[in-house]
Symmetry: C2
């Protein structure tokens, strides 16, 4: 029974990146469809009424499963393709991984992306005018507070949630890599974070992300440099 | 081996309510500690660095597991106490439940609660002054769009995600019940939603929520009325 996976995603969307990384770490092949979600294409809204990427569609001869939203896809993949385990072996491990996922998906997303990515990416895509400098400043200030917290975790741990690469690293790397595309991570102030990101960046699963480019949005000069 | 569960929560927090309902549906006894999260108490921030409710602590003689954030707690409970199953039997069921959880936790939360609950609840708790009428209007307009969508789902389904009560119903009921505390649900325009909420409201698991009161914030006259 052959199964075909199709991922609907946007390359610079941190939620989409989490799913691409998880699929690649689990060595699950997939076809990908790039969605210009801000144009609200009808066929995509029919797939996911929220209009947001990512959506994973799994097709076999006799069934089709549509999984919408990153958290749903990631939990789904842990169940249907448990190796490697990206949640961790014990309830305490899984609790720590999911706590950090939530941290990035809600706290980081609203405090940092809601200002910085909104101004630098979404306003460009939607042609909403020039970035607001005050909002960018607010986003950068919040980003620094988050990076201080992540740096502290990584000074004490091999990986973000503990001893193993997990969905927490994947969440963090997805958000941080998009901000790095725009040159917004002050690497020299965060040595443990930088070392961790060098390790993540050199993983085969990360290669596709480093090749992402979006017309009109040039990446920072060191975005795809493994030794930055 | 006896296990003691303690839930740190705020009664009018939709995320906390989801965990209280899941614990009650699974008939898991727990002690509860009410957290005035906006005062950022040190002992609570030590438990959850994000400073947000809910947090579930499970203690046995030789171990302690701290589970922070609603999504982490809910997934944890499905694993340690799988009956009744609140995610559903098949991958497609679970995908639909988690899609709707995400809908409420992100889309509803930012489009509705970020305006309506912020103005009516958080500003009161934090003594930030009078509600902004423009924001309240924006939250109410967004709420109506969401209720139209939920009404459409419930016209075709027994429960929000399909044939069984699930974490999708629990997410929806948690958000809607807090807005109903403030009298903000226009019930007469949404008959299928109202019927669903009457069924939810009459479940034993819901009783504790209907007894919630917060000093200085009176509930709507029909908040705890089963026949509203």
């Amino acid at each position: 029974m052959s199964l075909v996976r199709t991922l609907y995603h946007f390359p610079l969307d941190p939620a989409s990146r989490q799913v691409r990384l998880a699929l690649a770490e689990k060595r699950l092949p997939f076809e990908d469809v790039v969605v210009r979600y801000w144009e609200q294409p009808d066929d995509f809204t029919a797939l996911n009424p929220s209009g947001l990427t990512p959506v994973l569609v799994e097709r076999t001869a006799d069934r089709k499963v549509v999984v919408c939203e990153a958290r749903a896809v990631l939990e789904h993949l842990e169940q249907v393709a448990p190796e490697p385990d990206l949640l961790g072996p014990t309830p305490a491990d899984r609790a720590e991984v999911r706590r950090l996922q939530q941290w990035f998906d809600r706290k980081f997303d609203s405090e940092v992306n809601g200002f910085l990515l909104y101004e630098k990416l979404e306003k460009r895509l939607q042609k909403l005018g020039a970035p607001d400098l005050y909002n960018m400043r607010q986003g950068r200030d919040a980003l620094r507070v988050h990076l201080v917290y992540i740096e502290r975790l990584l000074q004490a741990r091999d990986w973000l949630a503990g001893r193993y690469l997990s969905l927490a690293d994947i969440a963090a790397a997805s958000h941080i890599s998009v901000l790095d595309y725009f040159g917004d991570i002050p690497w020299r102030d965060f040595p443990a974070l930088k070392l961790w990101y060098m390790r993540i960046k050199s993983r085969p699963a990360f290669r596709a992300l480093l090749a992402d480019r979006w017309p009109g949005l040039a990446p920072s000069s060191y975005y795809d440099d493994l030794d930055f």
